[in-house]
């Protein structure tokens, strides 16, 4: 018996109003509707969520960890982007 696997979906859950959706894992489902229903059963059995996103895993494009050093290097030497770079006289308040 040769049978095609159901596609893989990545699951993102908003745990409560006001917070971002966060990646929680993945699951297999035949379509998006089933993926959302399965995600409810697999990832929110204890009220962990108020909203679910599913994305077919093949549609996720990711940066390459091997390039991480060069890729994030431009931010490395720009300490002036942080407030602690600047010296504020002690007598100045509310800054």
């Amino acid at each position: 018996m040769t049978q095609k696997e159901w596609p893989l979906w990545e699951v993102f859950i908003r745990s409560k109003q006001g917070l971002d959706h966060k990646h929680v894992g993945s699951l297999h489902a035949a379509d998006a509707e089933m993926a959302i229903q399965n995600a409810r059963d697999v990832y929110t059995r204890r009220l962990e969520g108020v909203s679910i996103w599913v994305v077919e895993s093949t549609n996720v494009h990711a940066s390459n960890p091997d390039d991480a050093a060069a890729f994030y290097e431009p931010a490395n030497d720009k300490i002036y982007r942080h407030p602690t770079f600047y010296q504020v006289p002690d007598s100045i308040k509310h800054m």
Partner: protein, 316 residues
Amino acid sequence: METLELTQEEQFQARIDADVRIEPKDWMPDAYRKTLIRQISQHAHSELVGMLPEGNWITRAPSLKRKSILLAKVQDEAGHGLYLYSAAETLGASRDQMLADLHSGKAKYSSIFNYPTLSWADMGCVGWLVDGAAILNQVPLCRTSYGPYARAMVRVCKEESFHQRQGFEIMQTLCEGSPEQKAMAQEGLNRWWWPTLMMFGPADADSPNTAQSMNWRIKRFTNDELRQKFVDMMVPQAEFLGLTVPDPNLKWNEAKQGYDFGDVDWEEFWNVVKGNGMCNKERLQARVQAHEEGAWVREAALAHAEKRKQREAVAA
């Protein structure tokens, strides 16, 4: 020049030693990947097969409350299996292949589920002892070096503690009941104690892969260390219940601040691992049957999704 440069493998080990988590797309040695796939899929299989001995009691639970709890627990185990399979898939393993390996007998699952659940007290013992042992194994894995595995384990551990407590509550209720009920609890403990001690795996001297797994931080304590912890944890709980641990050699050792206990019957252990336990055939058969009988559902759902996609494409 060459002496200063670390090999890829040395860099990898340095990250592990610094407690940096490894993520799916990071470089990793083949052996690390293979060991993890084996360990995680075995763990997932155990959750899946673990539903069977308890599923056996859902229709026989003594009250609606116990039935609801047992249903929720078995559903959690299906969930735990799914978290773990998806963690293994991030390493490149395919779900179908993992299931095929389980069904062909190539892949192993925890031997504890090859013992029968004969009385209601066994539901207590499975929760209290078996899940208690599982928690000891699993809590350290929340800090394991592979990110998706560690995250899955955090989720599993959160849910597992309900499992253990409901098991203890079953035992406590039996122990506070009639003499027959208390005898049933003792009889359950008598049968489950030793198989539970075997859950931690062979003695350290017979576990050649432990050192490498500890180096990679996919295992954080040795089998014997965890077994000792378990005994020290459970004996006072058995005493509280008024039950006797079935080990004539069990004795408090003041010097080591832990219990000395008798030898596990390793011949029995290996015999069950090799497939000759009381329920090996029955469990595997039930799994294969469920999988085969569900095949038409999987095919139909896929066909339905395909048809709907085409219909939407035409409409657009």
